[in-house]
Amino acid sequence: MKRLTPLVLLVVAVALPWSTLHLPGLFDGPLNSPGTLQLLALCLVFGGLALGYDLLFGRSGLLSFGHALYIAAGAYGVDILISHYGWPLWQAALVTVLAAAVLAALLGSVALQTSGIAFSMVTLAFAQVGHIVISRDPGGLTGGEEGLPLASAGLPAALVGVTNTVNLYWVALAFLTVVVLVVHTVDRSPLGRTLTGLRDDERRIAVLGLSPYRLKLLVFVLAGALAGLGGVTYALVVGGASPHVASSELTLSLIVMAVLGGAGTRWGAVLGGVLYAYLDQRLARLGGALPGPFGEPLFVLGTLFILAVYFVPGGLAGLGGRFEPLRRALRPRTRTSAAAESA
């Protein structure tokens, strides 16, 4: 039964656009309205991005502060190829994801020479260069601070227009499914167990005769490619790319998502990403109605995050297990009290 749950959820998610269910408070319109579908698509994209990041952070213990660079490479790559050079979507997406992987291989091979905090700093610095370059608009390619809207002329007709938001939703769902399949395949393979070993004790992996550097580079490139794919999906859903996707804030929010949901767990990062994106969007919408600092989404999310680090170390995914002792503590007591009554 438990194994079937993800499959059931997937079927529900695929079928969701046919529902006209109205959920007041949660969404502004019925489930199949374009606004709601757009919001849900964004949540799914962030779920996938967070899980891809968790491959580095939660599963391999690589605290990269530069993941946004590869997402930006995906978003801007596909945007530039379609809008400036008029490539068809499929070719542009394929080339962009490959380019993101190559970029990750190049920069990863330098950054992974260091470890620990220095690794975090180097990745942060690389991503910052990406952000600066994108903001400076080299050769009129990236559109500078304004961002680059995706030219709809170059897209398949099924992905253009408000009435086709549902197709973007399915694209986002497909992206999340791909990331889940890839990451869970890695989890189950010997590679996944080696990565866990790498996270817990790198020296032990080296003693076993494996090369930590090569393994880390492999997972860095894989995560970079997934981030590139995520960037492509993001550009499609949002309809363009802006310098925000390259900013360090995006990487920080990915960390928040992974930790909030439960880093290193099967579904934690997906859950955290979906929830974060939802709260971010909804709180920004409700912003004016809430008093004082609660109108700022980042204040609420940052505070939630700090509380989660202290009080829910396993994240949302670990919550179920936390109630287990309580449940166990309650059960014997009812039995003994019943025994006492009968006696």
């Binding site: 605290l63 330098v110 620990g116 905090i117 700093m121 980042l298 204040f299 505070t303 680090v309």
Partner: protein, 288 residues
Amino acid sequence: MSTVVLLTLTGLGLAALYFLIASGLSLVFGLAGVLNFAHGLFLSVGAYATWSVAGSWGLLPAMLLGVAAAAATGALVELVLIRPLYTRHTEQVLVTVGLSLAGVALLQSVWGADARVFPRPAWASEVIGVAGAQVPADRFLLIGAAVLVLLGLLAFLRYTRYGLVIRAGVENRAMVSALGIDVRNAFTLVFAIGGALAGLAGILGGMYFSAISPGQGASLLIFAFIVVVIGGLGSVAGAAAAAVAVGLLQQFVNYYGTAGAGDVSVVVLLSAVLLLRPAGLAGKVATA
């Protein structure tokens, strides 16, 4: 020639700003092992505290209040948020990340997201002629403040008992604890010092850019991180040398190269230093 003088002094002014932020970061990392993302928040707290009372109190008392507020914020963050997590370094980093997000949003909700014009003493707006170059006087203010702070910090670390504890703690924290010294008090002290220096950097940065905004700390913080890593984690003198190198490189390349090339060249310098000398110019090997 006059261009070179102007660029040098402007670069040194920027270096002074980086040094003020980086020295606190470096001490905090060296001693407590905490990579403090909330350092940018201390900077903004100092700047906004000064800005909000400068009109009624006069600039100098307002600056003192700003530095004190930033120091208090630093000490409070250490006592309330960092200390309960004792040696769990990843969690400590995560908490400071959350704090930087929430804190900037809080400032934004109180004072708005837009930049505010920051007051400066009248003489700082004048220009001074140096070797044929017209140099704005605020550069000298920044450089002077940074040199004073550098000398003060080095004297504090060398000649006082607390300085001794901090230096020993950076070297080997476990041994200091084993000798019966409560090194955690030194943590609070280092956070307060780092906060005060960041607050000062926020105030001087406000004068340098003549405006402050809630996000300003975060953008300066990244270059301060680079300075810390190049200088060697835990070393004040290393941070000073690295700040000068980064500030000058950034100014000169930005002027003679295309826009943004200076920022890129700083990162190239960082990767070169890390590959050739992973421990930085001076300092211990950077491991989590």
